[in-house]
Every structure is written in C-alpha cells, then in structure tokens.
Assembly symmetry: C2
Homo-oligomer: 243 residues x 2
C-alpha cells in the first residue's frame, strides 16, 4: 500500500525531532510541506525530492502529497510541532476519500504547547486548555467563549497564533476577556522562536501581558490561580504536599 | 554546574523519544524514575546507574534525583510522555531551592495527548482541553467544573487518568457531566497502552463511552460538535473549505 506519513518535526532544531520522525524522513522519497519547514530539515536529508507550497495553500499542499503517494512514491508531509495539533493531519484525512489506496500514518512531534512549556519551566503540571487566537477559520465569538470558559474554570491556558500583522490587538483583547475571571497578578509566560535562532522567553503578570506586543512566532501561556514564579521559571503545582 | 535533566521519554517505544532525549540519556551517569519507565529504557542505555522509587513516592523520587545531581553526577530523571504535562518537572522546580547549584533542564517528550491523538486520527485539529480525572490531588468539584466549562465552550477534551481501581465509575460520571452540553452522538476515542505491547484504540459515541470500562492505561478523547468519524478515524476539522 502506498504510504503518506504526516510528520511533526517538533519546534525546529533537528534534535527535537523523534527518532521515528528522523527515520521516516530518511526512508521516504518525497518530503512535502510549507517552504519554511522544509528549509528547516533539508540539510539533514539530502537527495530527497522536496515539494513546497506557500502559506494559506493548505488544500493544495495536502492534495499534492496525497497525489504523490497515490503515484506509488513514499511521501512524508511535514508540519512544525505536531501535525495533529492545528496541523495538516485533519485536512489530509478529510481529503483522503479521493485517493483510495493511500495509507495515512501520523508520526508524532513535540508541539509548541510542550516545547514552550519546557522553556518556561513547568506551567502544564495541571489541567490546561489550548486555544488559537486566529479567527481566519473560526468566528471570534467562539474563541471568546472558550477563553471565558477556560478562565472561569481556572485552567492554565496556552495561546497559539496570539498575533499577526492583521490582528495586532488580539492578545490584548484576549487578556481583557481572561481577566473577567483571572487575577491581574496571574503568572504568564511568552516564548518566541522556540528551538530556532533567536529563541527567547519571559515571565510576566497577566496585567503586563495585556500591554505586551507579541508576534506570530510567539506562543503564550497564562497560569492558573496556583501558578508561581520560582527563580525565573513558571511553575504550576500538581498539589503534592512536601516538607 | 551540576545538571539535572528532566526527560520525557514519550509513550514507550524507544523510537518515539526525541533525538535529544536519547542523546541526554546516553550522556548522563544516572537515570532516575518510576520503576516501570526505567524498565522501558534500560536495555537501550546499558552501563548507567538506575535509581527507582515505587508509585506515589514522587517527592522521594525528585529529592533522590536532585541529591545525586548535587553530588556532581549528571542525572536524568525520566517520565513517560512529557515531564511537563502532569509530570515531575513541577515538583523538581518546587523542591530545587534546597539544592542550590543544580541546573534543571527539561527535555521534551511526546505526551499521551499527542501520541493518543495520532493513533485515533486527528482529533486535536481545533482548540482542546486536557483534564485529569484523578482526584488524588485535586478536589472532584474542580474537575467537574472544568469538564462542564470545556463542554459548554465546545472544546475537544482529552482525559488523563480516566480510571483506576478505586475510581471505576469516574469516566461514567465525567461523561454524564459532559453530556450537559455535548450531544450523545459526539465522536469519541479510547487509546490504550500507547506505544507499548497491546496497543489498542477504538472510536465510539459519547453515549457508548459512558457505558465503557476503561483502565488506568487508557487516554480518552471527546470530540467537539464538528468532530467526524472518517473511515474509522476521529477527525476534527480546522474549518478549511475545499472542493
């Protein structure tokens, strides 16, 4: 059966890929994906056929990968982070009905919610919600409802796509919504360019986060009511009692 | 500076570890952790010093790792999945004040929310909440509130610790709570023994999930109102419009 692997390459550095992802990329004929991500892996897999499409051409990118696999090639479609977290795996399954005989296999990667948390310390030691602020494909009312619900239930929140050129004030809007239930002193964290050149991070309060400008390469974390700053790290306790 | 790496080894199979995790475990003197996880990696890292503690001795386990690092050894404390998702990274930071001179570095792994999703298909292509049903360290009222909030906001929900010997009816209780807002036809998925011997999964409705018995080695996914079953896979659409 023809194989289409949908591979999460992790945050960016080669070493943050799983052994299985590296092995699959090594074994396949074609590596397809968004140009920026293909560029991240290219040097490690010489001699492969690389297929790319620009941003916002997700359907085209998925069909291209499915077609190559249908032709009998071993294809890996790559995504940054994990392909199953806001990634291409979903659309590939949705389109797969038109490409019978292609066997789809997701290969896991470390998504930004996990790699960002590791840089900040340990924000995800208790229940959390992952919410994208992009309203390109989701009505803003739905995003707002989710921000409110997660805040009211005192969950840690991780924000994907917190900003873009056209949505410069979205993080500020989101912070105002979360402050309905979360204290302005809530410990928050920003990570930027995780696992890539220029990686940076900072810990700040929700009140400070509201005034902060972040870009589209950032992932943002908002703590729960128990989250602490310990020696510059963002730490959510699990609830262990210790001496 | 003395190093304590807190390493997520992924779901279980060696290949699902990141290249960095494998490199760190290769380079360290001591591998510490819960016995079951140490057994999973032992054969791949011969010649290391292995330190284990039984379940529920989390404080002891963390102090043991911190003490070994304080002595000047290179130590890796391992967790299954990712050490930052309900893992030991938090407690290690909380206890670290008593061990000055130990530099803590989290090394990411693929958590069950990601590895389970990949087995089921693509349930996490839109906003999701991760909630543990264990009330060992969390009051049940808080868990209930989070289940209600995430359901009302139509988020995909991933449940960790859905059951145990003493909590056989917790998943049933959780399903009843989620049904306040989620339709009984909501597409759900169960994964068991991810990346280990006897791995299994199934797709079913929320109504069927409520009647299902799962064990402590299971991770459970509840879809949002858009989640579909496509050819035996659980797929949440992102919202792309395609021909």
């Amino acid at each position: 059966m023809n194989k289409l692997y949908v591979v999460g390459i992790g945050p960016g550095e080669y070493e943050q890929m799983t052994l299985k992802a590296a092995k699959v990329l090594e074994s396949c004929d074609v590596i397809a994906g968004y140009g920026v991500y293909v560029d991240l892996v290219k040097e490690h897999f010489p001699g492969k056929e690389f297929l790319t499409t620009p941003m916002r051409q997700e359907e085209k990118r998925c069909r291209m990968a499915l077609e190559e696999a249908a032709k009998g090639k071993n294809v890996a479609m790559i995504c940054s982070g994990d392909a199953g977290v806001y990634g291409m795996t979903g659309l590939i399954y949705e389109l797969s009905g038109s490409y019978p005989g292609v066997d789809i296999e997701p290969v896991c990667g470390v998504s930004a919610v996990i790699s960002g948390a590791a840089i900040l310390g340990a924000p995800l030691i208790h229940d959390f919600a992952v919410i994208s602020l992009s309203d390109l494909l989701t009505p803003w009312e739905k995003i707002e409802k989710r921000l409110l619900a997660a805040s009211e239930a005192d969950m840690v929140i991780c924000l994907y796509n917190p900003s873009s050129m056209k949505r410069k004030d979205y993080l500020e809007k989101a912070c105002r919504i979360m402050r309905t239930y979360k204290s302005p002193e809530t410990i928050c964290g920003i990570t930027r360019n995780i696992g890539r050149e220029g990686q940076s991070s900072c810990i700040l309060s929700l009140e400070e986060l509201e005034k902060n400008q972040v870009d589209m390469f950032s992932t943002v974390f908002i703590g729960n009511s128990q989250t602490m700053a310990i020696d510059g790290k963002m730490v959510t306790p699990r609830g262990y009692r210790y001496e």
